[in-house]
């Protein structure tokens, strides 16, 4: 039981929009083993972001529970979530809006280290050395620390976001659409970086994406979501090659592929 990294039980989250209920997540039961690399896919609005926000303890469920390393975190007050914050870090979709435009990169990256919640867990970690380490880890020049986010390209910004997530030495990295705002040339860099880091630091990884190819590249396990429920899950290759639901099959079929062979243009064929 405590062998699970994350476990959820009938996790439900409903949003209230001006009185109307939006069921973003309904009765999700999920187990994630330590060291797992889980991909969550699904169409827009299917509840992927909601699910990971609940896992990261950034939101409270309407009902249901979440355990992290055997501790139930749903009922925990914010000030006792330090261990969670130290262990689980997030990377967001849009590298532009996830970095405060008015902070220097160095301050952005070391912000988690300054948190009072995390300090007990991070005893003795020197900010400067850690900053240098993570900058090196994401392959950024050391002088990047003194600049502002807008001075970087999209790919570099996403690397800054990753560096921030790495700074407090987390065990789990949650990435919510980490590459969908990036163009192909940069996408490859970031995906490589993530692959390397996960291998090098022994991180558990949870990746949200609507791009099945990204998930397939990064993850060994896959969960497919639709309308707030997990409709299919299993090892990536299996789901990828033998989808058991029509929905998954449709998702797979829609993946655009470079057409290099001769023939009439047109996606319909």
């Amino acid at each position: 039981m405590s062998a699970d990294l994350f476990r959820t039980e009938r996790l439900t989250r409903r949003y209230h929009n001006d009185g109307r209920e939006v069921p973003a997540l309904t009765d999700v039961d999920l187990r994630i083993a330590p060291g797992a690399r889980l991909g969550i896919v699904g169409e827009s609005g299917s509840g992927k972001s909601t699910l990971v926000r609940l896992l990261a303890g950034l939101d409270r469920p309407t009902s249901g529970r979440v355990w992290f390393e055997g501790t139930q975190i749903t009922a925990l007050p914010e000030r006792r979530r330090g261990f969670l914050r130290a262990s689980v870090q997030m990377v967001f979709q849009d590298p532009r809006s996830s970095l405060n435009p008015r902070m220097r990169v160095g301050d952005i990256i070391t912000e988690p280290l300054r948190s009072r919640l995390l300090r007990p867990q991070l005893d003795g970690l020197d900010h400067r050395t850690r900053l240098a380490e993570v900058l090196a880890a994401v392959d950024l020049e050391p002088d990047a620390a003194d600049r502002y986010p807008h001075e970087f390209s999209g790919g570099q910004r996403q690397r800054i976001a990753i560096a921030r997530a790495l700074a407090p030495k987390p065990e789990v990295l949650i990435a919510d659409e980490p590459v969908s705002a990036l163009d192909v040339s940069v996408r490859a860099q970031v995906l490589n970086l993530l692959t390397d880091l996960v291998a090098a630091e022994g991180l558990s990884l949870i990746v949200v994406s609507h791009d099945l190819l990204v998930v397939r590249h990064l993850c060994d396990e896959l969960a497919v979501m639709r309308a707030g429920r997990i409709v299919e899950s299993g090892p990536t290759e299996q789901v990828y090659t033998h989808p058991s639901t029509e929905y998954t099959a449709a998702l797979l079929a829609a993946i655009p592929r470079i057409r290099t062979g001769p023939g009439e243009p047109g996606a319909s064929r």
Partner: protein
């Protein structure tokens, strides 16, 4: 017959900055589909805006853009306004924000007709509904009466497509029309675009950084890098057989499904090293 001829187009923003476009030349024949690819910031959108004559007034433009016999760079604002929406139209990237949130989409589409054909609202409405149906909206009447926020991303994107096509323009410019959509929706929108372009015989300038998408829509491609065109060719040739190292890198990096999961992906830098300082 050449519909669009861009020659030595150079665009600079601000006095001390590197040109956003630097001597861009290409041409597009009537009824043809030209893809423009390249990394973010390479000048794709600027090219499209230059053709539309929609560059901000502080942009300094040199070179020529000739569209259907008009010198775009010489035209007055009212001359341009006559061309836009009639001879040339544009499909924008963000379906969420490209429509006026306070106006019913039917009226927004009808506006295009009224601006150019001077159509009455009665017949315009019929034309609008017909067009909405043509771009694959199953319930065009309801859609016409909806506000943008009441439509899904895919529906909105198709409304924009309808706006771009309703006057049967000679050239449709699509600037990353599907990046905001999820894969399934993207697939249907692209299919519909292909279909209506085919039917209307309009030429298309298709901008995307997603090589796979371009390869499905276009027959010709230009590759842009730092405001310059580095390679041109047919889709089949260029993607199968890239010549310029940058293109090689781009094609390799884009092929996620070709790589073994978990293995290192090829990146552009493996093929092409930009000269120091050129790239920030």
């Amino acid at each position: 017959m050449t519909l669009l001829e861009v020659c030595d187009l150079t665009v600079t923003f601000g006095r001390h900055r590197r040109p956003a476009l630097d001597g861009v030349c290409f041409s597009l024949d009537a009824g043809c589909r030209l893809g423009v690819i390249g990394e973010s910031g390479s000048g794709k959108t600027v090219t499209a805006l230059a053709v539309m004559g929609l560059l901000p007034e502080y942009a300094r433009v040199s070179g020529t853009v000739e569209l259907a016999g008009h010198q775009i760079t010489q035209l007055s604002e009212s001359g341009l306004a006559r061309l836009r929406g009639d001879v040339v139209s544009m499909v924008f990237q963000e379906p969420m924000t490209a429509l006026d949130p306070t106006m019913r989409v039917g009226r927004q589409v009808a506006e295009v007709l009224r601006l150019h054909a001077g159509a009455e609202s009665g017949p315009a409405r019929a034309a609008v509904v017909r067009m909405l149906a043509e771009v694959g909206l199953s319930d065009p009447d309801r859609v016409a009466d909806a506000y943008p926020h009441q439509l899904s991303g895919g529906q909105r994107q198709r409304v924009i497509l309808a706006m771009a096509l309703i006057n049967a323009p000679d050239l449709v410019i699509c600037d990353e029309p599907t990046t905001a959509l999820d894969v399934t929706v993207q697939a249907t929108v692209l299919a519909k675009l292909d279909e209506v372009l085919e039917a209307s015989g309009a030429a298309c300038l298709f901008i995307s950084h997603d090589l796979a998408v371009v390869s499905q829509v276009c027959d010709q491609v230009v590759v842009m890098l730092d405001g310059r065109i580095v390679e041109t060719g047919s889709v089949a040739d260029l993607f199968a057989n890239p010549q310029h190292p940058y293109t090689k890198g781009l094609v390799a990096a884009a092929q996620l499904d070709a790589a073994t999961p978990g293995q290192r992906l090829p990146v552009v830098e493996d093929f092409y090293q930009p000269d120091a300082g050129a790239k920030r």
